[in-house]
Amino acid sequence: MMSRSGGYEPDPELTEHEVGERLHWFDVDRRGFLKVLGGGLIVCLAVPRAAGQAAQESGRFRSSPELPKEISAWLHIGQDGRITVFTGKVEMGQNIRTSLAQQVAEELRVPVETITIVMGDTEETPWDAGTFGSRTTPTMGRQLRAVAATARERLIDLAAERWKVDRAALKVEGGKVANSGSGRALAYGELTRGQELVAVVAEAAPVTPPREWKVAGTAVPKVGGRDFVTGKHAYTSDLVRPGMLFGKVLRPAGFRATLTSLDGKRAEKLAGVGVVRDGDFVGVVAPDAWTAERALSALEAKWNVPPQPSDKELFEYLKKNEEPRERGNGRGGQAGQNSGSVEEAMASADVKLARTYTVEYIAHAPLEPRAAVAEWSGGKLTVWTGTQRPFAVRDELAEAFRISPDKVRVQVPDTGAAYGGKHTGDAAVEAARLAKAAGKPVKLVWTREEEFTWAYFRPAGVIEVKSGARRDGTLTAWEFHNYNSGPAAIGTPYAVANRKIQFHPVRSPLRQGSYRALAATANHFARETHMDELAHATGIDPLEFRLKNLADERLKAVFEAAAERFGWGKRKPAAGRGFGVAGGFEKGGYVAACAEVEIDSSRRPRLVRVVEAFECGAVVNPGGLRNQIEGAIVQGMGGALFEAVRFENGRIMNPYFSQYRVPRTADLPQIEVVLLDRKDLPSMGAGETPIVGIAPAAGNAIFAATGIRLRGLPLAPDGLPDRRTNA
């Protein structure tokens, strides 16, 4: 069983955030919910098939009209006035528990504190594809605003009926509907009077325009923030169930290994220890965590590890192992990208370049490793786990144990981060397997080494770019091939008549999947480094060269905002320092970064200052947004400068923080964030796109400082090469 869970086939759903068509849909029992919640007003958002935001979320939702409607979000206002919102999204540090509450509070004209959001629970919340792709703000935020606005209007109707007055005379304020004429006011809970009222969101719910926002659009502090500074917040690994045992899984000696022999006798002699074997899956359970660790090390296993590629041959391997399938065409920002004739345009170009860029595999390394608590009771399985896709994990569990999904409940406590790395239910399946064998609840917490080895990685890639420009800096030809890393943001935002852009899927040597911003980081690195090379080849300032070839006003605006704050063109770098600029857009967010780099005495590049401008429509929470952008810059520095997974013959060679370097306090540059708040535009997500500018900006700054052009990420983990390699 488990050898499959460690499968190495690249999963296109993970690589490209796609969620496959679902076979089963369960009608939502609204009456059942009213029973649980008590009377009051419940508002549902019904999403028509193959329409609306949910359709965008997967791109290929089912469309049969006879099936029951999907409910994608709902809200309940109880007799006591308590407002509860249900969403399948999960909180993992991106601060959506707060930003979604703000949007509901805005529409219902109540303080944020009066709202409770139930998240990521397959039994209590509506089905959701998962929390990824920066979709929470544009999709769930929009839905919840519509739901809350519908609730507000329904409450006004109830008051108008009660008082027999024209609803136009009524006003909503502070959780009450008030009649300014008579001075009467009724709280929401009193208005519902314990009736069971159900409302479905109308086509055009009267949502409040961003210009009139009072609660949304402000820096509301993180909901429940106090529990994070007192240690009270319970992550998955902190949960305790009655009679709970502690589990450990025996990891194979290498990827794709098969178990040839197992001796569990020494382990089984330890008090209370059980050894579980199911095919190549081996685990132990013990009454306490310490004994479980000792039991694990007492197991004697022999594995057969087949020969596998190593990182030394990675980029040649990726070029040679293209997967013969048509994937990625017309998706991931590629649609409509090919036009004209690159060959003809290249032939007549004044300046021609052909360059190859590479990115290594990197690890998410969320500080909370994968963990799960699993409990079987009467044929029903309940699992608490930190995952971005609770419903997918429910299905994964149902499939693993051959039970119906309605016999599985997955609950996601607010999680110690994921960055795209927790799409799968590996720990959940393992804990459930151990709990099934033990007949008791089992907690399983992965070690850092397991997290670095048995999770999945951000895809490595090779990107080949060919370009042509006129002497005046007009871009005329653009050819771009991405091998393996992915199609996200593969299209160029620059105006160029002759384009050929293609993603080439590859049989990945390592298990790979989503990572914050997906391949947008790799594609921006290649594109924005190449644009810099072209700028230097034509002798034009790199910022001016970009602006000259840009038609997109929003992208121009962030470039100009970042450049202005940075002082681009107004200051000269000190000796040994250089300035670089890069930018782009993805997932509705526009980003530009200016970086100042210093080369230290050991020839290591160090970021001194980063200015990043970002625009994602109407800002829902400027405090949370700044936090995301600052964090993305810091995390992005790691992949830009020094992070790389080393592997050899089926083994990860640097599975510890002592060997896999992540950004630390000493790496921190001065960071300045410039927010462009466009209240006239829909709010978009911001968890990902702010990460894409930093790597090319840093690389371009290194070139400016040294004349050395680096074309691989990480740029210089061991310091700069001695001589110029920018041939």
Binding site: G623, Q628, G631, Y656
Partner: protein
């Protein structure tokens, strides 16, 4: 299994644990003090930081027997009578976290710094927290929170 007496956050606790078991494992799994986090088990991330007689230690690399007879303080022991410790308040005010998983270790490390050095220079703060990883990258806020806490503690 051995019987040990620990003084945790001012309270004497009798525990049964092998002396070589990590202090982190005892805190989390035997005393249900789960505010102290496991992040790496190699003393590299600082999520498990606790104070032993006021000095910061990585509890994942500390055998529980080392804590016997010493004054042990965890994140749960910082607030007094529902009032946050100034370092906790500063982290909250600066919103110096995203997922919050590193926060306990950051706060406990900071308490240790400010108790030994009430007026740290920026490079002192950076150096002291070099062993604490925030993978969400909230370092700018963390450094600001430490500065804010230092100021608050000097005034108090």
């Amino acid at each position: 299994m051995g019987a040990l007496v620990l003084t945790v956050n001012g309270t004497r606790r009798n525990i049964e644990a092998p002396p070589e078991e990590s202090l982190l494992s005892v805190l989390r799994n035997r005393l249900e003090l789960t505010g102290t986090k496991y992040g790496c088990g190699e003393g590299q991330c600082g999520a498990c930081t606790v104070l032993l007689d006021g000095r910061p230690v990585r509890s994942c690399r500390t055998p529980v027997s080392d804590a016997a007879g010493k004054k042990l303080t965890t994140i749960e022991g910082l607030a007094r009578g529902g009032r946050l410790h100034p370092v906790q308040a500063a982290f909250l005010d600066e919103e110096a976290f995203q997922c919050g998983y590193c926060t306990s270790g950051m706060i406990v490390s900071t308490v240790a710094l400010l108790e030994s050095n009430p007026s740290p220079r920026p490079e002192d703060i950076v150096g002291h927290l070099a062993g604490n990883i925030c993978r969400c990258g909230t370092y700018p806020r963390i450094l600001a929170a430490v500065g804010r806490a230092a100021q608050a503690m000097r005034k108090a």
